[in-house]
């Protein structure tokens, strides 16, 4: 055995670098995110036009959506504050003004009507954490009440003092005989102390996580404050489960007490169909006369919305957005939505046109009707651009469905006063020719039957202008498999990181190169993880990790950062680093860094559910978590 071979055999590990052939990307890319279609024959100009057109529709739609979403919150605030400010003078017995906010994530801020000088309105937020027992709850809330009361008071006295240095201090509360302590006596004596009526609003956040016993006791405690003069108490309960869940944990007598005067507001936008209907309608308006929606697409929306109970407005917007984008992305004919673009129609567009099912039926119809064969042939061959003209002619044809939809909506809302219908469902029934069925829910529609009747019609070339997805874009991209998605993101860090900025005036060569040559440690390790077998020896894994990192580049980078004052490092860090560098040497330092990265990444993998240790004691090997078939 030669010395070399022997040395080779003693090595703990070998590094093999397989040569990978680079695939060449053929498609020439423009500046726009879209690529050339029609097998790459689409002109650059048309790609650009497609992009511009898409952008236009998209922003048009979103402007409207923003308005709708904005209105949602405005409506909500109005509703809440109108409940809280309702007149309570006519009550027969003292009771809480109780407001349940369903589906609330407890971030809703409560806005009050303008404060007046006679009444002090105080909002007291209580979270489950702040409320371990009644004593703490009471102390906290009284403290908050006091600080809320004193804040404006202080400002006022300051102002007064600046105007008239004497100031009438007699107006300030003479606290001494009554004293201020953090209990209900503060509420009781509020009028005496501050000379104002008091309106207390308790905002219980995340009520589901409260200890219900404590909450119950606290409400009973507050009950005695109901009898105080000049005090009004509102309870706002933010609930994200449901009412019956809360109810079952409270005492019956408490429920009776709360029930005397209570209001429920559902904050999840899906209560009723109001906002979803508005959103869908605005989408239809945006694409009106340009695009059709296929029945299956609508069914898909309906299905997915019913699968997502809490955020289905957001989901609807996302689906519509996505469909629009994917349509423009993949359909070369989308550019003709703007009919002026027809001037750029060329022979590359012809083959897909001929394959259109509606066109083929039309030709078939011509054959059956014994039309002259030259005419048919001319159409098929685009002789004297007959096909082109034919196409142009149908471009401007409108689908009557949207107009009819407006008619139906008008009848439903204005004639019959029906508002709780699902517009998307209605549209679906119209597309499938079952409008009649849908309307049966409201028997009073019968009198309008002849007006409402609707048969869907086919328009030639409509499939070119229909939002549909024959490719699996939708279910795949909108609802990706979680695990796959995670893995894909780990493989391509560009998918989750903002694109590396390549500043033109960059001075140092390292920074630019460093970004492109070194991946995140996590991603780097993941690519090794993919190649590893299901049981992984951690030491081997670490060696592989260390080996695959571009050591020299990192070394350069470290040196550069330590020396260069303009790098991102803070001053102290740089100090430390340079000391380390001096003491340990660069190699050692690099090893340390890599070890840190490695350990970090491994534990992150564990948290992501990619790796598990086999037992709690041994850390030598880890095992891949593989969810077979899931």
């Amino acid at each position: 055995m030669s010395l070399n071979e022997f040395a080779e055999a003693q090595k703990t590990h070998y590094t093999v670098c397989p040569k990978v052939k680079r695939r060449r990307i053929s498609c020439e890319k423009g500046i726009d995110p879209f690529v050339k279609l029609l097998a790459g024959k689409e002109s650059m100009q048309m790609v650009n036009k497609r992009w511009v057109l898409y952008h236009q529709l998209h922003s048009q739609f979103h402007a409207q959506v923003e308005e709708i979403v904005h209105r949602v919150s405005i409506d909500m605030y109005r509703e809440i504050s109108s409940v809280l400010s309702k007149d309570t003078s006519k009550r027969t017995s003292p009771s809480f003004n109780c407001l349940f906010l369903l589906g609330s994530d407890s971030t809703t801020t409560i806005e009050l009507h303008e404060q007046n000088s006679k009444t002090m309105q105080a909002i007291i937020d209580l979270t489950p954490k702040e409320s371990p027992n009644v004593r703490m709850m009471l102390r906290r809330s009284m403290f908050k009440l006091l600080s809320a009361t004193e804040a404006p008071l202080r400002v006022k006295t300051d102002e007064k003092e600046s105007f008239a240095p004497e100031g009438d201090m007699g107006e300030l509360p003479r606290t001494s005989p009554l004293g201020i302590s953090y209990d209900l006596s503060l509420v009781q004596n509020f009028r005496k102390l501050f000379g104002k009526r008091l309106k207390l609003i308790f905002n219980f956040k995340d009520v589901d996580s409260f200890n219900s016993q404590v909450l119950d006791d606290f409400i009973i405690l507050l009950k005695s404050a109901l009898n105080y003069k000049d005090v009004e108490i509102c309870l706002v309960l933010n609930i994200n489960t449901n009412l019956s869940n809360i109810q079952k944990n409270l005492r019956q007598s408490t429920i009776r007490l709360l029930k005397k005067d209570f209001t429920v507001i559902d904050l999840s936008h899906n209560k009723g169909h109001k906002y979803a209907n508005q959103t869908f309608q605005s989408f239809l308006n945006t694409v009106d006369g340009k695009l059709n929606l296929s029945a299956e697409f609508i069914k898909f929306i309906l299905d997915k919305m019913s699968n997502n109970a809490t955020h289905n407005l957001q989901l609807l917007i996302k689906i519509l957005d996505y469909s629009l984008m994917s349509y423009f992305f993949q359909n070369p004919f989308s550019v003709f939505i703007d009919p002026t673009n027809v001037v750029n129609f060329d022979e590359n567009y012809l083959p897909p046109l001929l394959k259109c099912p509606t066109f083929m039926t039309f030709v078939e119809g011509m054959v059956h009707a014994h039309a002259p064969s030259e005419e048919i042939m001319a159409l098929l061959d685009n002789k004297n651009s007959t096909l082109e003209e034919f196409f142009t002619e149908f471009l401007v044809r409108e689908n009557p469905i949207n107009d009819h939809l407006k008619l139906v909506v008008d009848v439903l809302e204005n004639q019959l006063g029906v508002f709780n219908y699902n517009l998307i469902d209605l549209y679906y029934h119209m597309l499938t020719g079952k409008l009649h069925e849908f309307l049966q829910r409201w028997p009073e529609c019968q009198q309008f039957e002849d007006i409402l009747k609707f048969e869907p019609v086919d328009i030639i070339f409509q499939e070119l202008f229909t939002l549909d997805n024959s490719k699996e874009l939708f279910s795949q991209s909108l609802f990706p498999f979680l695990r796959t998605n995670l893995e894909n993101n780990l493989i391509n860090s560009d998918r989750m990181l903002p694109p590396a900025k390549r500043l033109p005036g960059i001075k140092d060569p390292f920074e630019a190169e460093f970004n492109s040559s070194v991946d995140l440690p996590l991603c780097q390790l993941f690519s090794l993880y993919r190649e590893a077998s299901s049981i992984i020896n951690l030491y081997d894994f670490f060696l592989a990790f260390k080996e695959t990192l571009p050591r020299s580049e990192i070394a350069n980078f470290v040196n550069y950062s330590v020396e260069n004052k303009e790098s991102d490092l803070r001053h102290e860090d740089r100090e430390k680093l340079s000391i380390l560098l001096k003491e340990k040497g660069l190699d050692n330092l690099l090893d340390k860094m890599m070890l840190v990265w490695f350990v970090q990444s491994i534990s992150e993998f564990q948290h992501m559910g990619l790796l598990k240790t086999q037992s709690n004691k041994s850390y030598e090997v880890v095992e891949k978590c593989i969810w077979r078939g899931l």
Binding site: S176, L258, G272, F474
Partner: protein, 471 residues
């Protein structure tokens, strides 16, 4: 020294007893008196009335339930006594003391000492009664508190002009029996009897209901002008029926019965028509639901409005289909043993579902459903979910239909997250949860009744999985 005796229905004896213990002259009054009786047995009412009739007897009231713990209780005792005295004898100047300083018993004594000494100028001895209404309702009650108050008079100088007397109103007999060796004078307020409750309520509520605006409006809107006796009749009947219907539920609790009456009065009034106003029986029949449920629920109204759109309900309140199957799968995970999973859920045995497919499982001692839910990893949940989630028929080749087993996509996770936030599925560790970590174990938090109801709504026979599991 005359003591007026108010009349309180059915409480003559107690009023008498009180009047013999409570007196202007401190030498005639014991330092501590206990009044014991259950909720709404008229304790507060009687005592209030008594002091109302005898304004010459000085008194002040404290509600321990509002004070939560004993430090504020002491502070309030101090504050109450000093402010009551200050109001009674405005001429006597007394140096100001901060009641908040009475944070402990010895500080309270010190405080009282200072305050009471300034009233030595008074001509004669007076007693000041401090009433604790609901002493045992203090949130942080401990057994030391009462003895300290009982002994308080021993710590104050005996020659004070103002003598403090304490009256403790207590609910709990068990609480009181701890202090039986102190030999405190105790006045017991026994529970009312059924007839007494009825009489008190009739006396109290009839006039209130006759004058209620809603009744008047309703009657006027029906175009009627009946005599006063008709009104009385209606109110009386109503009260009697409610008492009969709910007496077994509330017991002799006047407050609860009164609350129930108030809450149902409106709907009772709504059902009055020209025909039934004079016929109690038909009036009773026309709103019979009022008497069958207490109606102590927030959700009743909602259900009524949901009825209209039954198919859309899924989007509003119910769980989505995916959530339902996830929950069912979670239930199966929690209550079936993992080692039989492959036998039960693999596609092969799915063909002959039901008992026959897992006949060879070892029988268990107890029905697993009676046990605690066991923990399971997410992976198992998803695989069972995949196995039970219905796959649509092959005929439809559109991608919009699931032709292959449902896999855990983002949608599924979303639904899982929702179930988690609804607390229907919970994690084993409640805090700082890393949801994806393989260490995390889950469990279902739903009882059998709900899961069967849910399963039947998606036509899933969950009972089949549990049949023949135990002896």
């Amino acid at each position: 020294m005359v003591i007026n005796v108010p009349s309180v229905k059915f409480r003559d004896y107690q009023v008498d007893a009180v009047s013999s213990f409570v007196s202007e002259d401190p030498s005639f009054a014991p330092p501590n008196v206990v009044i014991q009786g259950h909720h709404s047995s008229g304790k507060t009412l009687t005592m209030r009335k008594f002091f109302e009739y005898n304004p010459q007897i000085y008194n002040c009231w404290l509600n321990p339930i509002e004070l939560v713990s004993w430090k504020p209780l002491l502070q309030h005792v101090a504050r109450m006594i000093s402010s009551t005295l200050a109001n009674l004898f405005p001429d006597i100047s007394c140096e100001e003391q901060d009641a908040l300083e009475a944070e402990d018993f010895y500080l309270l004594i010190k405080f009282l000492h200072a305050v009471l000494r300034s009233y030595q100028l008074l001509e004669k001895d007076i007693s000041l009664f401090v009433v604790f209404d609901g002493f045992d309702q203090l949130q942080e009650l401990d057994s030391e508190l009462l003895p300290k108050f009982i002994k308080l008079h021993e710590l104050l100088p005996p020659n004070l002009r103002v003598q403090l007397k304490f009256i403790y109103i207590v609910h709990d007999t068990a609480f009181l029996s701890r202090y039986s060796t102190y030999n405190l004078p105790t006045i017991i307020f026994p529970r009312y009897k059924h007839e007494q409750v009825a009489e008190i309520l009739l006396q109290k509520k009839v006039s209130e209901y006759i004058e209620s605006e809603k009744l008047l409006c309703k009657v006027v809107s029906c175009g009627l002008d009946p005599e006063d006796s008709t009104f009385e009749q209606i109110a009386e009947n109503y009260i009697k029926i409610i008492i009969q219907a709910f007496h077994s539920y509330t017991g002799n609790d006047i407050v609860a019965l009164g609350d129930l009456m108030d809450s149902k009065w409106e709907s009772y009034v709504q059902s009055i028509t020209a025909e039934n106003i004079n016929e109690p029986l038909s009036l009773y029949r026309s709103n019979i639901d009022l008497y069958t449920t207490t109606g102590d629920t927030f959700v009743a109204e909602e259900e009524a409005c949901v009825e209209t759109g039954d198919s859309e309900r899924a989007t509003a309140y119910e769980l989505s289909c995916i959530s339902k199957f996830l929950l069912i799968a979670a239930y199966l995970c929690s209550y079936l043993e993992p080692r039989y999973d492959s036998k039960i859920f693999s596609k092969k045995s799915h063909l002959r579902a039901g008992r026959s497919s897992y006949g060879r499982r070892a029988k268990m001692e107890t029905n697993p459903r009676y046990l605690q839910p066991s923990l399971f990893p997410l992976e198992r949940l998803f695989s069972i979910f995949q196995a039970i989630f219905p796959v649509e028929e092959q005929e439809n080749h559109s991608i919009f239909h699931h032709t292959e087993p449902m896999r855990a996509n983002v949608e599924v996770y979303e639904n899982l997250a929702e179930l988690n936030s609804l607390k229907l599925i919970t994690t084993a560790t409640p805090k700082n949860v890393d949801y994806l970590s393989y260490k995390l174990k889950w469990k279902v938090n739903v009882p059998w009744e709900i899961i069967t109801e849910l399963a039947s709504s998606v036509n899933f026979d969950i009972a089949d999985y549990f049949s023949g599991l135990h002896y």
